[in-house]
Chain length 339, copies 2
DNA sequence: CTGAAAGCGCTTACAG
DNA sequence: CTGAAAGCGCTTACAG
């Protein structure tokens, strides 16, 4: 079972291995060109010999290997919690299929517990891949900078602001999505809208808030508040209603649920007592989420585009970083009413 | 950003690259041994230089690369159907983590539609990995034989009977699980039990049937029938009851549901009219499946063991194939009653 | 248009 | 116990 190599093909076609190499991986600025006749012979030889290039050797020799890495800071396939990564993975797989790439999941670089780290060891392992897609929240953003400094191509899922490093990323357009929600609320007659968000402020939270405050207008009163879900108690709701807010935009589902609980506790109901719009997309789709008026995040598409952008960066490293924002959707539910 | 290589380390430690190689990958029957002093110097040099071996080069040179491939005939992350592979993947990831392996998903070898094939091209791509885990039903079993002939180590999830090839596999012990179900039914007073299975008979179906018929005894009447779910109609049920069967063991949930439908159609109910036990495990766990008396399949564990066995085969290729069966569980529901 | 040669970073007999 | 050398299968300047 000896492997058929390039030199076998070259011998059969009566050319040198360099010619075979040129045939199997045609490059624009190639220093070597092949005649039609020679190419025909090479292809015929490849056919009869059943030759296929050895990716490992191609890789070592500096060629492309058609493998893209997928790195996550937590387990990719969690059992206990919702599978946050699944929809992204789905899109990534589709993108990889379309572009003829294999996917390398970096599972080795993780301790059994605790967050993974790209370094040390990880970065070296990544070297097998042509580039990588980074998923999930990084516990330490300096790692991104450090990876960036190595020159290894990668794209993050989710916008990333980094000092002294222009990163490739694919993100959902939360700003536009939230602005759209505000517009819809206004069209339904709402004049006082409250935004309740998480206390942990990352890029996507900033984007949502920006989209919200960007709709500031004469006839609208917008206020932003960030708090834990525990802080949304009876008093909080009382104050909210007394202040005249008719709709609350919550950054997470947890906030939305906490709020609805309080409404129920005071024998009110949503959206009669107050309207609620969730500025997030749930991971699973149990029956209960359908009723919520909310935005949808194009997770699968983000994964697919991430692959596409990554390949583009690998092929043309001189490119400026690619930053893609994808539009979110508005999902009408029954928690927002006109007033 | 030049990569730190083995020779950098060797130079700093004042030894040859062979010694460094011996230090980073100690092998039992190594032709080269390293002195304590030298090893210490090498480790120190590796430390200060931040050296980590290049897996690609290791691979080309014939060393191990700590990458295991995962091949599926269909998309690994399906969007439309239930994710059949997820629980296995979860176990595989856990196993890979524990054993310091990365996971390479072969997504490139698939056309956009139609089943994937290991050949051609695929086998070459697999070469990057040390071995592979094969998931899902193969449309053409000859491919397994062919892959086996290449000498590439792999293990399948699910038992595989192949002519002239002893394969490594990890399977659920359906035979024992079904035998156990029969025993439980008998203990509850059932004397006439019917087994209804899928018409497509693969290894796991054979195992179930074997487990069933293996409990044949004087005081038990056991009968096996294979049919489409459509064939389970009113007449079928009538006959079943007339014949005196008091419990039906169904190979799939679909069969179980079809049967229950017919029971309902004749204004009966399960388990009053007849008991049902599903000899399968659902992929998702919606509220509705909980009530079924059924067996559970240790999918995660199967994935984890598959990794472990694969690594064992990679390390000792002279081993005989490893065939592991893992016990299933019995999940009491409310569709089986004593009579 | 094509060949001979070096080199990618490792591992592994083969000599000392 | 350790070094020099060949080789894994490719790609890529460098010469023709």
């Amino acid at each position: 079972m000896k492997r058929v190599t390039q030199s076998d093909v070259a011998a059969m076609a009566g050319v040198s291995t360099a010619v075979v190499s040129a045939v199997i991986s045609p490059k624009p600025g190639k220093t070597i060109r092949v005649g039609e006749e020679a190419e025909k012979r090479v292809r015929a030889a490849m056919e009869t010999l059943g030759y296929a290039p050895d990716v490992v050797a191609q890789s070592l020799a500096g060629g492309k290997r058609n493998i893209i890495g997928v790195f996550t800071y937590e387990a990719i396939f969690p059992s206990d919690s919702e599978n946050f990564f699944y929809p992204f993975l789905l899109g990534i797989e589709r993108g990889a299929m379309k572009l003829g790439q294999d996917l390398l999941l970096f599972t080795s670089s993780s301790l059994e517990k605790g967050p993974r780290s790209i370094f040390p060891g990880g970065a070296n392992r990544m070297g097998v891949a042509d580039g990588a897609i980074l998923l999930g929240e990084e516990p330490d953003k300096r790692e991104l900078k450090r990876l960036y400094d190595t020159g290894f191509p990668f794209v993050t899922i989710g916008r990333r602001d980094t000092v002294k490093a222009e990163l490739n990323w694919v993100a959902a357009d939360y700003a536009a999505a939230v602005a759209d929600v505000v517009k819809r609320c206004a069209a339904l007659g709402h004049r006082k809208l409250k935004f309740v968000g998480a206390t942990k402020v990352r890029e996507q939270n900033i984007d949502r808030e920006r989209g919200f405050m960007g709709r500031q207008a004469e006839d609208l009163t917008l206020s932003v508040e960030r708090c834990e879900t525990d802080d949304i108690n009876g008093e909080w709701l009382r104050r909210c209603l007394d202040d005249g807010y008719t709709v609350v935009l919550t950054e997470t589902f947890k906030h939305a649920v906490a709020l609805e609980c309080q409404v129920a506790a005071m024998h009110g109901s949503v959206p009669q007592t107050i309207s609620i719009v969730a500025l997030a997309s749930p991971l699973t789709r149990p029956a209960d989420v359908e009723r919520w008026t909310r935005i949808s995040v194009p997770r699968e598409e983000m994964g697919e585009v991430a692959v596409r952008n990554l390949i583009a960066q690998i092929r043309s490293p001189e490119n400026t970083p690619i930053k893609t924002t994808l539009p979110c959707g508005f999902v009408p539910g029954s928690t927002l009413q006109a007033i």
